[in-house]
Amino acid sequence: MQRNYAEDFPILKNSTSNGKRLVYLDNAATTQKPASVINAIRDYYESSNANPHRGAYPLSERATELYEGARQRVADFLNAAGPDEILFTKGTTEALNFVASSFAMDIVNEGDEILISIAEHHSNLIPWQMVAKAKGASLKYLYTDAKGELTEEELDAKISPRTKIIAVAHVSNVLGIVNPIEKIVGRARQVGAAVVLDIAQSLPHMKVDLQALDVDFAAFSGHKLYAPMGIGVLYGKRQHLSKMRPMLYGGGMVEDVSQQEAVFLEAPYTFEGGTQNVEGAVGLHAAIDYLMGIGYDEIKGIEDELSLYVVEGLLNNPHVILYGNSHPHNRTGILSFNIEGVHPHDVSTILAADGVAIRSGHHCAHPLMRHLGVNATCRASLSFYNTKEDIDIFIESISKVRRWLRLESK
């Protein structure tokens, strides 16, 4: 008998939604937090809170230890070359914006090309529009095929000696497709382009080994990884970080300051101006410990099985249109779909009445929506804490949608 991981999540045990048990299927937007993460944050405030790196008293030393311990944990988890390659940020958005403004702005020149995929989240798209405009470079797109995948032909056609930066998501937040990062990095190396990888949607579901992938930068958000909101990570190779300018100047990032000059600390501290989110780092550490206690094999096993089960249920409904790959091979448990004749917003309102939380809209990916030829989609996204019972409730609720809109008789 499989363990029911929902037991570890107070909100899933205690919450009701519209008087019904909460069926939470919006995990790609943010995940719920296990008790161990919530407790770690409470413990931090009850026993270790002080400003890290500042006071020479035991409490501050303890806060420093916890903060730096979290950095080390993240470095090990991602297999970075060392903790100095790990910068704490507010989340993926801040991390990607930082790479765009402090790295790309210095290496991209007029006539160069920045390459992203059509499936990028706006946070891995708009910063590149800004760099391209500021530098007179051109922003090019890798287009996905009918299954939502990036083909080798497409990579060959778009990656050129002019390409300076390739920024892609490891996993699409709309279609759940896993992109061929090894192939992208291989071609990037041939033309001397840097690769920026958005691992916000992959890290919760699969092992990410950054040295093996050999990407230049990577970014994720803690809140999609069972950790709190407001903490995220930017990984950058040492050779790049050592040359980049800080974004925030102030306390915590300087070695010495005179009236006219300041000497900055080295990476990662030079990039963490101001008092940092220690609570978030502590929560992230606890979340990684929790996940590794379960293990990616178990997580993937559960999520793939659930994913097949959802697809089966959706495809049994003749009015469901599913986007992207229907097989979990090369896909995580993110399913985008529409119901014939019904706008996604009505679908999510009707599901909410049954306690089911899904997302509807454009998922911060306008260009992809246009590429798919839709205005918006419904998106159900799974976690290992979901159960077949959750899926049964979801599929049953889906089957009622057209009746509510009088498109079918009761």
Binding site: H343, P344, H345, A353, G361, R406
Partner: protein, 145 residues
Amino acid sequence: MNLNEIYTEIIAEHSTSSRNRHPLEEASIKLEGKNPSCGDEIVLELLIKEERIEDAAFTGSGCAISQASTSMMIDLIKGKTVMEARQLAELFSAMIHKRVSDESQLAPLEEAAALQNISNLPARVKCAVMPWRTLEAATEKQPLE
């Protein structure tokens, strides 16, 4: 939340009805309304003669709430003066934002009062209000040549 109070017969009927859903050839005013966050889009067309809305119609797509709200609004404003239509838009907005809830005060909205329960669904309020805002903006605009 009770879906019976939201997806009522009358809202379902208006959301799919084609009665008001067509281009208006002699329109004197044409204005686009949008909810970028969920992709509701309408083009509202009005034929205004001597401060009176002689005819109105719309085209577009979106959720049932936005489409029904548009259709109900058009039924209501046809034949009214621009001033009356603007007052109705104000009343509708007051209803959706729970500033007015008294049934007798809402009577002038006629069928559109059926959208009152949307006021309990914060995520959908903008769907219901969008056509009325578009009407307000359209009647502030100068008529086409």
